[in-house]
């Protein structure tokens, strides 16, 4: 049971590791790493589901009668590209956040945000009084 579904176990474990990192870590880069792990687990899910025992790549050649289902592999090629794009965009955002806030820790950023909010409120109340 456990050995037969070896791939699936890996998938689930990776998925949970990834999600946990995304939720629990305050560091933005680490969150993106977690997201990448999470996506990778899904890639493995697709790839392992298409693999046929003893099958080869789907090439027309002599002696090949059994081959893996190529469709999910192609799909996941697309999904990998999407994943790369997401990671790149995420990292670019982190760079800009770092420029704007001077930090990539979630707590610091929220702290800074609350400060700016307070300031605008104070300005607003001062405006009302004047």
């Amino acid at each position: 049971m456990i050995i037969g579904h070896f791939n699936d176990w890996i998938v689930v474990v990776l998925m949970m590791i990834g999600l946990y990192i995304v939720i629990a870590h305050g560091n933005l880069i680490k969150k993106i790493v977690g997201l990448a792990i999470f996506q990778t687990s899904v890639f493995i899910l697709y790839i392992s589901m298409a693999k046929v025992e003893g099958g080869s790549a789907p090439i027309l050649a002599e002696g090949i009668t059994q081959f893996s289902n190529p469709l999910p592999h192609v799909l996941i090629l697309t999904a990998i590209v999407v994943g790369v794009a997401t990671t790149a965009l995420g990292l670019a955002l982190v760079v800009r956040i770092n420029e704007a806030y001077g930090s990539i820790e979630e707590e610091d950023i929220q702290h800074l945000d609350n400060q700016t909010q307070d300031e605008t409120q104070i300005q607003a109340t001062e405006g009302d009084q004047s």
Partner: protein, 478 residues
């Protein structure tokens, strides 16, 4: 299809005109498509000439055509105001990029709606969301970056969930075509894999549509994005996600599976109601007017979901109507807010003092939009709430109907706060007098507002399409 129009990389001032032009063409095409679908039924187009269950199929039925119409219409109107608005909000060298992203996002949404292939949905979803993240990050405030980052994390998790769900469905059925899936799924419907697939897809889609407990990304993303982007996304992004929800629950999994085997009905009803109350009460306490209306969007999603949860034809009709109407009113309101940002530089409630006299046309637009949110007769909001209530009463759920009316009262409070500040308080002493918004804002805003009132009085067109779409959905699912 109108999807591949985005291939523009011209670096000139003409980009705006070109985007407007392509969006308008998309709009015209979708009007024609809707007419054709209404008269002759489903149109399907096989991409690359491969036949349907193997190749990728674009499939337009009444529901898609309706959604295509909403999205392209809103996008065209919003784009009219874009040039003026981004002059102040985005540095000049990024204007071309802005339009490219905008069109990419539009492409993604039109793609999601028109495709008949489950995996294609995921690809288009990512196209539109990736450009959405980038668009939101273009906001002036540094908090826009943070909002965009949060949206990126949540959105990617949602999309990946959908991907898992689609993968599991493929594993069980060996097909990705939605029509094919809907035929093959009932055979394997009682397996745990299908249940899991369903759960993953629903959660993923609900993340995208900001259903109540999964809405946390939305207020900040809407509030700090450039105004044009907000107007566009508030009207379309959540609508597309709701379309996906309808498509998956009704067409792919089938009505009986979604609503009878699983307790989706109660779940949606409960979440929709809590969403309405929590989000409306949150809206009352916001200081930033964009925040107010962002929270009100979440509440409106609640109404839409409740219509869905009745799982009757009239309920679904109400849902589709509200989809259309909400897109109209929210884009009008956010565009008007964009005009205020253009003149004032911010949308804090405190700087609205006396604005009713200084920008009468813009504020009047906000007031009418707000009345429509509440559901006052003669506006579109009334029509869809009326149908929603009738659907609920038909079903015998009168406590829900009462709660919905109470929810509307909360909307009265948050709209009234804005009206009070804008009309009954004097402008701050020493503040610079502001002028009325430029013409490029007023035309699209009032186009939307007039549409608001027109469809509030003459409901035949929108109602006919919505009920036809609802009936066809029930026809597909046995």
């Amino acid at each position: 299809m109108a999807a591949p129009i985005c291939l523009l990389l011209k670096r000139s001032q003409l980009v705006w005109l070109f985007s407007l032009f392509s969006s308008a063409i998309a709009f015209i095409i979708s009007v024609l498509l809707l007419q054709q679908v209404m008269s002759s039924g489903v149109i399907s187009y096989e991409l690359g000439g491969w036949e349907a269950p193997w190749g990728i199929e674009y499939r337009i039925d009444k529901l898609n055509a309706f959604l295509l119409l909403i999205i392209s219409a809103i996008s065209t109107v919003v784009l009219m105001a874009a040039q003026t608005s981004i002059e102040k909000e985005i540095p000049k060298e990024k204007h071309t990029l802005f339009y490219i992203l905008y069109l990419l996002s539009l492409t993604g949404m039109l793609g999601i709606v028109s495709t008949g292939d489950a995996f294609n949905v995921f690809v288009f979803l990512e196209i539109s969301s990736l450009s959405a993240y980038a668009l939101i990050a273009l906001g002036q405030d540094r908090r826009a970056l943070w909002a965009s980052y949060q949206y990126l994390i949540m959105g990617t998790i949602g999309a990946t969930f959908i991907l898992i769900g689609i993968g599991l469905m493929y594993q069980m059925t060996g097909t990705l075509n939605m029509q094919d899936l809907s035929q093959r799924l009932p055979e394997v419907a009682q397996t745990r894999t299908v249940f899991t697939a369903f759960a993953f897809i629903i959660v993923g889609v609900c993340l995208k549509l900001a259903l109540f407990p999964l809405h946390l990304w939305l207020p900040n993303a809407y509030a700090y994005a450039p105004s044009i982007v907000t107007a566009f996304f508030a009207a379309t992004a959540t609508k597309v996600a709701i379309y996906l929800l309808i498509r998956f629950t009704f067409t792919v999994f089938g009505l009986s599976f979604s609503f009878i085997t699983l307790p989706l009905q109660e779940l949606f009803l409960l979440l929709g109601l809590t969403g309405i109350f929590v989000a409306s009460s949150a809206a009352i306490y916001q200081k930033n007017v964009k925040h107010v209306f962002a929270y009100s969007s979440i509440a409106q999603v609640g109404y839409i979901i409740i219509g869905l949860s009745t799982s009757t034809i009239s309920g679904l009709t109400a849902t589709l109507l509200h989809l259309f109407n909400h897109a109209l009113m929210k884009s009008a309101i956010f565009l008007a807010l964009g005009a205020i940002v253009y003149r004032l530089g911010n949308v804090q409630l405190s700087s609205f003092n006396g604005l009713g006299r200084q920008m009468p046309l813009t504020m009047a637009a906000i007031v009418i939009g707000g009345l429509s949110l509440i559901g006052v007769p003669l506006t579109v909001g009334f029509v869809s709430k009326w149908y929603l209530l009738t659907a609920l009463l038909d079903k015998g759920w009168w406590p829900v109907a009462i709660l919905i009316l109470l929810g509307s009262l909360l909307a009265v409070i948050y709209v009234w706060r804005i009206v009070e500040v804008a009309y009954f308080r004097k402008p701050l002493a020493g503040s610079v007098p502001v002028q009325e918004a430029p013409l490029f804002f007023l035309i699209p805003i009032w186009l939307l507002i007039i549409a608001n009132i027109y469809f509030g009085i003459d409901t035949r067109l929108s109602l006919q399409v919505a009920s036809a779409a609802a009936q066809s959905l029930f026809g597909v699912s046995p």
